[in-house]
């Protein structure tokens, strides 16, 4: 992702953060080491502050950089996330296009880049890189020199939040094309009766750059289609008590298009569950881009059997989510291309 397109999260640095940084820097043997410790401490404090806003637990006292001897010897800026691991928070100075991860910090779950400017009252969290399991193994065995991470390779902070919530993993559509799906994604035949699949009662919305004559559905090199049941719980309507459970089936068809290298077309279709005859009234489906903005939406007509959103020419690295809602109740499925 280009650094220009990353959303930068400003984080104020209160006096307490500077006091801690000054305390740690004063213990060091040289000015250069003191400066390294000062900036490392502020970087860690900034990420700790950000995660605290979101009520994600951190533990500064469990971080190695909070231990006087370890920070004096090693170049470390780790933040302990209880039950998850250590997150390395690396300072990025003005004009830097990359940052280095020292060899003493290779056992981390990931790295957050923290941009400093001349004014040290605030910093900006630029983004995150996950330390993949294979990279970690490689780092531990072969990290002869510090690992350098280019700022242009950073992912948005959402990627960090994903890492901290493994239970809400994103569906990787490229892996789907390689035949890898999680268990919740089943074959369409299992969940959608043929009477629905053959029905003509539905609506379609599309968004993307394919020309009309380039019929995406038939120009693909390879494709995969999977389905999952989505349960929505509505609180009782006026005059009713209790909760109402409604189930719809989300079918996702991924098409690798011959004409557009590396692009995917994605067709998102909703059907009723087997016990119903049509989609629930008040059902809405929306596709959202990475920033959460609605890019395409549909509200099926009364007694429709299906509704479809088609996202054309999705580029590698793009992320989107699908929000399915009835009234106040909604479920979100997230995808990356």
């Amino acid at each position: 992702m280009s650094i220009a397109t990353l959303l930068r999260m400003p984080v104020p640095l209160p006096r307490e953060a500077h006091a801690k940084a000054a305390q740690f820097a004063a213990e060091q043997a040289t000015t250069a080491k003191g400066k390294q410790v000062y900036l490392n401490t502020l970087a860690v404090y900034a990420v700790h502050t950000y995660l605290n806003w979101l009520e994600i637990s951190t533990d500064l006292t469990q971080s190695d950089c909070w231990q006087p001897g370890l920070r004096a010897i090693f170049d470390i800026a780790d933040l302990a996330i209880p039950e998850v691991g250590l997150l390395e928070c690396r300072p990025v100075l003005p004009g830097d296009a990359a940052f280095a991860v020292p060899i003493s910090a290779t056992d981390r779950i990931g790295y957050v880049a923290v941009q400093f400017q001349e004014d040290l009252n605030t910093v900006e969290l630029l983004g995150f890189v996950r330390a993949a399991a294979d990279q970690l193994a490689q780092s531990a065995e072969q990290a002869i020199a510090p690992i350098e991470i280019q700022l242009q390779d950073l992912l948005p902070l959402d990627a960090l939040l994903n890492l901290l919530h493994p239970e809400a993993a994103i569906n990787d559509l490229r892996q789907w094309l390689e035949g890898q799906f999680s268990e919740k994604w089943r074959s369409v035949e299992e969940l959608v009766p043929s009477r629905f699949r053959n029905s003509r009662s539905g609506s379609r919305s599309a968004m993307g750059s394919n020309s009309p004559e380039q019929e995406p559905r038939y120009a693909e090199a390879s494709s995969v289609t999977r389905a999952t049941a989505i349960q929505l719980t509505q609180s009782g309507q006026s005059g009713q008590s209790g909760q109402l459970e409604q189930t719809v089936v989300l079918v996702v068809q991924v098409l690798s298009v011959v004409a557009a290298e590396n692009s995917l077309n994605v067709c998102l279709k909703l059907y009723p569950d087997q016990a119903s005859t049509c989609l629930p009234s008040q059902l809405k489906v929306a596709a959202l881009d990475e920033s959460g903005t609605v890019i395409l939406e549909s509200q099926p007509k009364e007694e429709s059997v299906w509704t479809e959103l088609e996202l054309l020419d999705c580029r590698p690295g793009e992320r989107f989510s699908v929000r399915i809602s009835i009234g106040e109740s909604s479920v979100i499925e997230e995808f990356c291309v």
Binding site: L7, R8, M9, P10, V11, P12, L13, P14, R15, H18, A22, A25, A26, E27, Q28, A29, T30, T31, G34, V37, Y38, L39, N52, W53, L54, E55, I56, T61, Q62, W66, Q67, P68, G69, L70, R71, A72, I73, F74, D75, L93, I103, E118, L120, N121, T122, Q142, A143, I144, L157, D158, L161, H165, A168, S291, G292, T293, S325, E328, S330, I332
Partner: protein, 290 residues
Amino acid sequence: MCDDQRFQDLLDQVNQRSELRLQRERCLSKLLMQIQQSPRLLRNRHPDYYDALDRTLLWVAKKIEGFEPDKPPPTQSEDFMKWVNRYLSWRITELYRSDGRNDIAKSNIPDPTPSLSSLDKLIKDLQAKQLKRTGQEIRTYIEQDPEGILGSCHLRQNSAYNCQVLAVRIHLQEPPATVRAVAAEFGVREQALYTHWRTKCQPLLRLIALRFDEPLKQEIVSPELKESLSQVQLEGHPECNCWNLSEQLLLTNPAVGVQEIAQAMHLPRVADVWQHWEGKCLPILKQFRS
């Protein structure tokens, strides 16, 4: 104004997603970013303004569900920023009140926060005033290696390529050398040097770091921690427990080497002691850091 629409979308999403933790966090994150970038956000020159802002953002994140706009969508963003600013304004007023300055408009308190370019001078001054400098003590210890802990741990082919020399090159020298550069300087295989560094020198340096952690050493002798440490034993060798190891490795002067400990406990492999120390004892000690 497109800012308004963006705010409105995020407000809607945070409220819609309150039951889905990950989605809520993502929306909240973007909302907190949007607040800070909003031209409507209240600014102030008090040096603790950033503390007030941090507390305000924390408060917004906790109380967002309690925000009740006067207007219907899509014009809630103005109400929202007023809501945020009301709390921030109260925080700022409190700052001035605690300083004994009630007239905010006339107050002009200098900002003590250093700038990036003034950091070197600030740190130099702080270090000059600091009576006890753990970093300096550790640096001197590594440079002089008075107990020979680092110098006696070397690559097989040459005793000159030992952990003391490596620690100075890789950590103390400014700018630090990479393992690759040291390997080239010594004319040894990079991987052999790195493996030695990672498996032998780094554990020794971690040990030295803890020997300089006075609060931790005081904690170790507390009955509670002593009891916890004593119970964590190397299988089949009750004497090789974390209390005995902590006492001998951290509290004894001069330091007892791991090899001597292994011999005294009749353990055939020194590596077993290291493994027990690093894998079992250090995580317990970490929990008791203050």
